[in-house]
Amino acid sequence: MFEFNAQTIAFLVLTLFVLGGALGVVTTRNLVHATLYMVLSLFGVAGFFVLLSAPFLAAVQVLVYIGAISILIIFGVMLTRSMTHLRHVHNAQWVASGVVTSLLFVLLMVGIILPVWGVNGAQTPTEVADVVADTAVMGQLLVSPNGYVLPFEVASLLLTAAMIGAIVIARDDE
């Protein structure tokens, strides 16, 4: 179970950031505020990466998500200015959506805590390896023929295609 130390306190605070921010994203009427709540949530996720000893991913999370994607979404909000304050935030099926997502959460919770579908999160050992592979290993893995060089190239192609596609779609024709 939980032991009372700095890591647990950090985990609880970051959980508050992540879930509170997510709640703000799905309920706030003003979309600029919703985007700021999303930044809070993404920042909490970056904190989780630090707690899980993945500092490189935490840095990438701050750069890519908070630095790029959030700014992109703020631009999207500002370019669709008249839609920022809709009178009705949620559509007609919001009750059904709430019921479905609550049921999904209960199902996931059962799967995580009870051993219904075999060994799961609650049965894994709590003592974990102290020695963790560092970022240099990841760099080699991403470009080694036995690792992920092909997905790496496909990812760069995907980014190029997405960039060109975004320019073509969003451009004014005349």
Binding site: L51, T101, A129
Partner: protein, 102 residues
């Protein structure tokens, strides 16, 4: 260390909140934000499983890096489509652009 199931539980809650946003919001930009939250929940899960079960290799973090790439591409193209729709129909409300609905 915090047990693995705590991370999985937070990720499950984040995923469900993002899914609620995707299913219930009317503004298309807010739907995109919900998708970002769901992708982040997946990232938490991948990194937590990597740390607790596979910390000697780097496979889990490589997967997360690819999800970053896909999320960036998805946000760029998604917002371009939203802006294009707004330019043509002066609206980004999902119900106003359901002409492809069967």
């Amino acid at each position: 260390m915090v047990p693995l199931w705590a991370y999985l539980l937070v990720a499950a809650a984040l995923f469900c909140l993002g899914m609620y946003g995707v299913l219930s919001r009317r503004n298309a930009v807010a739907v995109l934000m919900g998708i970002e939250l769901m992708l982040n929940a997946v990232n938490i899960n991948l990194v937590a499983f990597w740390r607790y079960l596979e910390a000697q290799t780097m496979n889990g973090q490589a997967f997360v890096a690819f999800i970053f790439v896909v999320a960036a591409a998805e946000a760029a193209v998604g917002l371009a489509i939203v802006i294009s729709i707004y330019r043509n129909r002066r609206s980004v409300v999902i119900e106003d652009v359901d002409i492809m609905k069967w």
